[in-house]
Symmetry: C2
Subunit: 211 residues, 2 copies
């Protein structure tokens, strides 16, 4: 996409389209330019022109636009980068604890969504955070410009999920598993090794006794 | 107690008495020197003499020794200090997650017991760790020489529980609540502020974008 030739009014309307698409019920798979124009009070020809500037996946006759694809294209075009939100993978005990932890907001941070592969968890929520199918990870992260991912799975699953997160556009990983993660240069990994924290406290205690 | 005059054979037997007392069912409130001697294959007079060297709370005629008190006296006399174990207070989501986290053993650490005031939780266990009544905290910690306590309660309750922990002989606190804890000099406090960790990752991301 060539971003240099786009007009300022079009650029201002693109986030409006994206927000409208995000507000649609999940069942809405496709949408026509006519519907978008009607909903936003815009001219249909203008809508087509705007969308074609941001997305090479044009609307198909009688089918309209693929909603998910259009959301992805718009988010990518707009270069959405949300450094204050994170998604979490692995809604076990620790994952659930983090979702219901209400200290994050104090620091202006929040967990936007959680992902799991357990059908009993998908569709439910903890602490107000919805749990999605892991297969929706990439589409969710790209649409919302999420960059931070939290891994709270077992160490055995961690690397594969880390790879999946990077493929989904994430570039900072908060790793609660005890696995060592291999990542390309430039990716931020913060290891939250609770066992090491406890061992450090133990060590500090022993030092104090031996003073 | 004067520890200098105690004979070496007595000193070697004291941990044997303590281990035997710990093995008794919780219902055993009192025990006679006769029973201890019989169980351990020792001479009754010797048992009385040994125990009086370590505990000023002597056995009462027909009543015997108070088991809890004797365990406390023996543990204190022996100067038991366990720097590899911790107890946890507050079995909510985060507390439960830590109890079932099996990474601690890798670092030679473990959580020995958990405490709560919820009758529905007391008497149950998570991850093989028994949950006790918070009122048993001091007796448990002193008997087992526990020095490290983990707080996973709400910030509102944290300071009062921290004070209770210090009164129970603990001298290192791993604080998962967002409360700032006031402690006397010499007490080790390690604040595990998860919100700050997430904010630091966010900050590192922004730095990288602005490079």
């Amino acid at each position: 996409m060539d971003k240099s030739n786009i007009s300022k009014p079009t650029l201002r309307r693109l986030p409006v389209y994206l927000n409208y698409l995000k507000s649609l019920p999940a069942e809405t798979r496709t949408i026509s330019a006519t519907s978008v124009a009607a909903a936003l009070g815009l001219n249909e020809v203008q809508v087509r022109k705007d969308l074609s500037a941001a997305s090479k996946n044009g609307g198909k006759p009688k089918m309209g636009y693929d909603v998910e694809q259009l959301k992805l294209d718009l988010a990518e075009f707009l270069g959405y980068r949300d450094t204050k939100s994170a998604i979490l993978i692995g809604v076990g005990r620790l994952g659930g604890a983090l979702l219901s932890f209400n200290g994050f907001e104090e620091c202006g941070m929040h967990i936007t969504a959680a992902f799991d592969n357990d059908p009993n968890k998908i569709g439910t929520s903890i602490g107000g955070v919805a749990i999605y199918d892991i297969r929706e990870l990439e589409s969710f992260c790209r649409t919302h410009g999420i960059l931070i991912g939290i891994i709270t799975t077992s160490p055995a699953e961690a690397q594969a999920l880390c790879d999946k997160m990077l493929k989904s556009g994430l570039c900072a990983i908060w790793n609660f598993s005890t696995a060592h993660l291999e990542v390309p240069e430039g990716v931020i990994v913060h290891n939250e090794n609770l066992a090491v924290s406890l061992a450090m406290i133990s060590h500090a205690l022993e030092e104090q006794f031996n003073k």
